[in-house]
Point group: C2
Chain length 335, copies 2
């Protein structure tokens, strides 16, 4: 039996696949799968005989109908056009984030087995003027195309769940920091760049005011939470399947202070302030903190501190990091 | 220049067209149109040389592309599969309420003129466990296919507005009572039936507990509010275009008491209680009251009392009603 991961070639997708395989290696995975299929525009980088990579358009109903077959035990739907890319290309965002999600839900519905389906959403579904700490029943009034298309995806996943076509689990992920590699099209890409580039001796630009509150999750905590989202009993989630995945609330100024503590004056001096209206318009509309007590009780985890998140990046990814990425998902707080 | 009304053959649509024509007759309509095009599966019943009726599938992109041309000054999108029908036919609800709305938005976008577009939504977008009085920023967690598809439509209208493709106005209408005619596929159809049938000497069934709180609007107030929604300055609405159209909060028991006051013991005795789980599952998940102060300040109106709403029905529609339907939209409270 297989698990499908759309976006399996991406950063979170490939790390999630690695974590699922480690759980399989450890024996008795909570979901009895024995192989993983990545659906993505690119080849999944995880080299393992239990992983197969289908390269193609994840919004294609034909591809989805072919791959979503009776062997499917669970589905992760991570593939999406991100915030910056969605703002630039409205039609592509609608096609991939809305039509692609619906095509996947239809393919899953045709199975008749109501497979578990984890859909990654984002705090970008919120906008307007949110309270300091956002409760679970706060209105989604997205200020961005990415947020709007993700909010539509959430409603579709919920409704297909309510009707018993899938067993949906919607994970509104915090901004992931610190990501390795190069900037991506997310408007929040700087939230990794202002730490990563200076630690690698490169200059970075901070496009938002230092008082901007960010809701952050390390890659380790995010991947651990995605694994948990497939495993948790749907009944415990309740009828509404939207979940604010735990993060920690940190201002950009606090991130820069932590950079200085860990990388020294020299690293800190490599960050230049250059306010960018197009980034601010998107990122500053996102809430900085969420009520997550119920999520922690459901077994989701969160990071302990921004310092620890930066040290994780150094351990896992910085040039000369000693051990393979994602060797464990420790360093996160359980309920 | 023309106004398009999808669903123009329906009860609200045809009364809205009549009201728009009366405003035109009175001179200087706030929006300088000179004709109205109804798009509906049925012929628009309003006989007036300024009204043309296009009969066809309102979810057809071809039909929409043909009719939404450079003469369009404003669009009302009222056509939808209602709550009972949506629950019965999921695919039809998705096709009409989601795909149809998107096709209309695309047709409007191609004009390049950002026409005003009024989209009727419903309190059915809410679900779960709403507070006694629902604030403007309460989460939409629909418990029905109708609510889910309307919530998706809202997000699309908002996003097309935010991007400047249309100037959208989303009217979440209360349950309309008292409607004339026969029951329709809305799960809330009883909210008219338990008044209308007894006043016409027929038996009616009450499928929900008497303590059920309903958020009601008379046809007159609803139509006046739809007319106002096209006229109001978009800047005054603000960036988020979702609006809870004012109604009044009345329990089903209070409706039956008012029926007795107006129709006497005999009318009241014609209502039989017969709890219906399928109706309760939908209707009892809807909120009973909303914060509407801002809406009243924007010039929207609401009814004064359930007694007055029932008397309006008798005046406008009951057998032997002396004057044409909707002669005026008085009897509603202004801000």
């Amino acid at each position: 039996m297989k698990i499908i991961v759309t976006g399996g070639a991406g950063f979170l997708g490939s790390r999630l696949i690695e974590l699922l395989l480690r759980r399989l290696d450890a024996g008795e995975p909570p979901i009895p799968f024995d192989r993983i299929v990545s659906l993505d525009l690119a080849e999944c980088p995880v080299a393992d005989p239990r992983v197969s990579s289908v390269v193609g358009d994840v919004a294609s109903p034909e591809l989805l109908d072919r791959e979503v077959d009776e062997d499917v035990l669970g589905i992760y739907h991570l593939a999406a056009v991100l915030s910056g890319g969605s703002e630039e290309n409205f039609d592509l965002a609608l096609r991939v984030n809305v039509d692609g999600t619906r095509a996947l839900l239809e393919a899953a519905r045709r199975l008749g087995t109501a497979p578990r389906l984890v859909f990654t959403s984002s705090l970008a579904v919120f906008g307007g003027d949110p309270p300091e700490v956002v409760p679970e029943e706060w209105a989604e009034q997205p200020d961005s195309t990415y947020g709007a298309t993700k909010a539509v995806g959430e409603l579709l996943v919920n409704e297909y769940s309510r009707r018993g076509h899938v067993d949906g689990r919607i994970c509104r992920l915090p901004t992931i920091s610190v990501r390795p590699g190069r900037p991506n099209s997310a408007a929040s890409s700087f939230a990794s760049g202002i730490i990563r580039e200076p630690l690698n001796g490169e200059r970075a630009v901070c496009p938002v005011p230092h008082a901007t509150r960010m809701w952050l999750s390390s890659p380790r905590a995010a991947v651990a939470n995605l694994a948990h989202a497939l495993e948790v009993d749907g009944e415990r989630i309740g009828p509404w399947r939207g979940m604010n995945v735990p993060g920690i609330c940190v201002t950009v100024g606090e991130m820069l202070d932590a950079l200085e503590r860990i990388g020294g004056d020299q690293a800190r001096s490599l960050v230049d302030d250059a306010p960018d209206r197009s980034v601010m318009d998107i990122v500053c509309s996102w809430p900085g903190e969420f009520e997550v007590q119920r999520m922690l009780e459901l077994g989701f985890v969160r990071d302990r501190s921004i310092d620890r998140m930066i040290r994780q990046y150094v351990e896992d990814f910085a040039p000369g990091a000693g051990r393979p990425a994602g060797q464990d998902e420790a360093g996160a707080e359980t309920a």
